[in-house]
Symmetry: D2
């Protein structure tokens, strides 16, 4: 039986690959895409999500629900320099004409969970505004869901948005705080991404030889982030936080080689630690070790899954 | 033509009188009651709202929508010592058997506003969780509403929940911040309540002679808050923040004798100023003077309206 | 026997009158002037203090100690628009040639207290940086002092520097927090100043007829603040926070008509409530009611003292 | 010519080894020891410093100045479970009878710097209260000092006091903020300590075979912290943050293999990130890259220096 997954995404850059991976995985039934407010204009995220489904051959089939157009409490400027204007490399602005589904993304999440208790898994690869709103709508959300996977935080390591914070947690720190406090989260953080899900030039060249629609779309969508990596980190590389999260969701047993439960909290205050993810690895605080933090993955397997997805639309083939 | 009003309430104590006042006012069409998380258990608030509508002869007619069961981001303990266990004096626990309306309170607010642009007025006499959630659901909410009245804050004066904060703003400071930042609010604060809407022993004795169902309910619902006032402030008095807000909404021209627009913000941080309402009376900051703060009301007229409501169900008679 | 007083001052505007009042009071032995970092350049404050002592005929006799040149932890911009460039109205820049005393102001405070336990009273009419530094140098400072009078805070009322804060507490909120937590303070706040120590046009005209050096200096020093009051508050008036504090210190029994002990704390955080003075008038928190807040003074007596000081150098004559 | 060093220490555990290392280094002239408030009672720290000098044969020769007895603004509980009651393993309470030097530690620092501009190096291995107080006493402190070495912070890694903070920065976050903002600091952080200055069982056994007074004192002083490491981290190891800092100061050229200048700031707020050290490794913020962060040391050389110090009192021999 397939697992039913809703992916909550600010579709830009690697979000596209996460969606493709879930769409292409045989073991997954992609139930819906919900769009969250992220680092380009909201309407771009919506259209990017639809286009990505179109690439996967699922446009119009998998509903795309629009969610909150801005973060819960604290606002922020958009930073299009990371994924490029529009979020897909900077030069590409799809226009699918596919209509959005009726309904508000947080409702779609809450209602799917209510209708099928224990069957829905959330794949959260965006600021967590929609999930937080779903939590206030449905207090039993945690019990009603199967699994919750979140890309977010920087576990006792340097952040990517500020020195203290990863983008998703920084962009809506209040929502992130609510989610880690109220849901049983499987966390894929920025540190793991840097360690185990960074594609460097050699592998990128290899992927470049794959001649499929998926592969071409990958190059388009990550063009700008690759440049950005060169500028900021001096490395010709792309990072795959969102597709790593999707891959862990799909192949937890095979891919995740180390994980632990820790108490996790998020600093929701404005100031130098906005969006900081406190992760109590030593059990110093008296917080409950509720969040499962993925600490290591089989890097080769992840690359194999990714390559197989681009080449054959079959991410699970290497499993 | 009647004005259409939705009242968002954590029905307990004076909320009941605000609902009765709106229900009884000829110029008002009470569209819906939405229930917010307040200082007793949520289900008590819901039942108290239904019972209050029952007293007004509107049970089953005016829908009661249940909203969020807890504040947006920051939680708090309930403080039943103020309005008594259950919220209606401590000894009275109604059980109307009236079902709640289908739908989530924030949706009900957003949908009413969308369906009738410019026609709906909100009367917010509770922590602002539901209104904040409606804002994220409907970004155009401010433009879609007629008026927004909020009971909240302590304008450059001592608070009632902590020295720095009034209860509604303190209980959900994140929601309060969102609301004053994103809606054109008419604000009735705790300071105005103390100055112009405090009923002392003499007037309370006079109200006690009124022998109606409304009047009896009033005595029941405020029994505990009157005791509390004696304990905390050494005064035999009740305060009427919520019914004052409703009265201002009903009779702005006649009742409000002074008001000004100021920049208002709310401190959403935990700590000693959680829920503090900054009100820039001197224009020191560069914030936009958006909130209309009611600074003075005709105290005698308010009493007359209240008395007429209890005695004859006709709050507008003295106008 | 005279009471020995050290005045800690950012000499500008009304600080001068406080110093003159203490210098002229027969019951007071002005032991030293210590200079704190305030709202004009530090060296102006130092020279203004020396000039004020010169007016009082005490230059070179009462030592002037220089203290910290900037606040403890958090910095701020100077705001010369309030007291004018230089702090004495804007056009007057004294140059006495009097040397500063050897030693650091916080040491002078700590050492005087150690040498004469129970004999020294502090009159603090500036940001509390020096007093805080004295506290860390001498842990027993509270026990060693006679009385501590502080001008600072805005007790449950609008501030003068920001809506939430009075200037002295805002300028060095960390120091203010330390002082109210660790010393037994008699507090004269901005609210009291507005209520009971605001000189309006009529009284100012009367003072203008006094033809003495003191009186002339008063007009010079407050010229700019009077203009500022017109601009900001639309009132032709001057406020006398510092001289009121000195007067209360001199004539507590006669002048202070109402006072209470409350728990007081200061918000030292950056942000909208920097320097906010929490004053728990209702005993809501479990903080110790340690600070004596002056709530009302005999306004006529204060004016009489002030007038008598300007006219005859005899502030205590009306007592 | 010897370099003149003042060590500011909350003498307990590894502080003793840092003092011994500085005392024993031929290239160093240990000018003074100043005692800061740390994690056992202040008087223990003072006596431990004197005893350590006694072991080094310098008791009475190198002055020990007592500093502030508590942190600048925010207080904390002592945590004797880390270094044991008294700070030297738990069972050892020296009583040297050596008097403290006259004067306040922050003054001693400021005055030495003034008297010998450019000649004094600070070795700060404690909460930075004294250094912060010296800064407010002497605004030119940075220009007057030669070098400033600070053990503190956790550079984008897990803290040791809380998940977000290292002890020295946590214990007096306000002082730490002032120091990194106002002095040109060479920073040795907790992360470097874990990576390059952790002695494990094998090396500890080897040190145990050294039969000198120094060596015996080392075992006594670190007994408790070794047990603590077993309890908390499940490792039989000791960490040497303070002696590593002293060693880097002594042998910067030989020992420090990697270092970079970054913008560093400290979160002084109460809450989950109290004492957090923001280190902008990627230059994301617009803060000035002022602090030199030691990122890697020659671990073998450090061990050789340490062993040579214990065995022969000659830490510089391996250089
Ligand atoms: Ca994303
Ligand atoms: Ca209410
Ligand atoms: Ca002053
Ligand atoms: Ca230390």
């Amino acid at each position: 039986m397939s697992r039913r997954v809703i992916v909550d995404t600010d579709t830009a850059g690697d979000d596209t690959q996460a969606i493709l991976l879930l769409a292409a995985a045989d073991s997954i039934d992609l139930e819906a895409v919900t769009v969250a407010p992220g680092n380009v204009e909201f309407d771009y995220h919506v259209e990017n999500a639809k286009y990505t489904l179109d690439v996967a051959g699922l446009a119009g089939e998998v509903p795309v629900y629009e969610g909150a157009r801005r973060p819960l409490v604290k606002d922020h400027e958009h930073v299009p320099h990371i994924h490029g204007e529009g979020g897909l490399g900077g030069d590409f602005f799809p226009d699918t004409g596919v209509p959005s589904a009726d309904g508000f993304a947080p409702d779609a999440i809450a209602e799917a969970a209510r209708e099928s208790p224990g069957e829905i898994t959330l794949c959260c690869i965006a600021p967590l505004t929609n999930v937080a709103l779903a939590l206030r709508r449905e207090p039993e959300l945690n019990e009603l869901l199967d699994e919750v996977w979140v890309m977010g935080g920087a576990v006792n390591t340097l952040g990517n948005d500020t020195p203290s914070a990863e983008y998703n947690f920084w962009a809506d720190p209040d929502a992130a705080k609510m989610v880690v406090r109220e849901l049983d989260v499987n966390l894929v953080d920025w540190g793991l991404t840097v360690r185990d899900a960074t594609f460097e030039a050699e592998f990128l060249d290899r992927l470049a030889e794959i001649d499929t629609e998926y592969s071409e779309f990958y190059r388009t969508a990550t063009k700008r982030v690759r440049e950005f990596s060169r500028e900021r980190r001096g490395e010709d590389a792309t990072t795959q936080p969102d597709s790593l999260t999707a891959a862990c969701l799909v192949a937890d047993d095979e891919l995740v080689t180390e994980s632990s439960r820790y108490f996790v909290d998020v600093d929701e205050r404005e100031g130098m630690t906005r969006g900081y993810s406190l992760v109590d690895e030593l059990g110093i605080t008296d917080g409950e070790p509720r969040t499962r933090v993925v600490e290591s993955v089989d890097e080769d397997l992840f690359r194999a899954m990714f390559e197989s997805m681009l080449a054959e639309g079959a991410p699970e083939k290497p499993l």
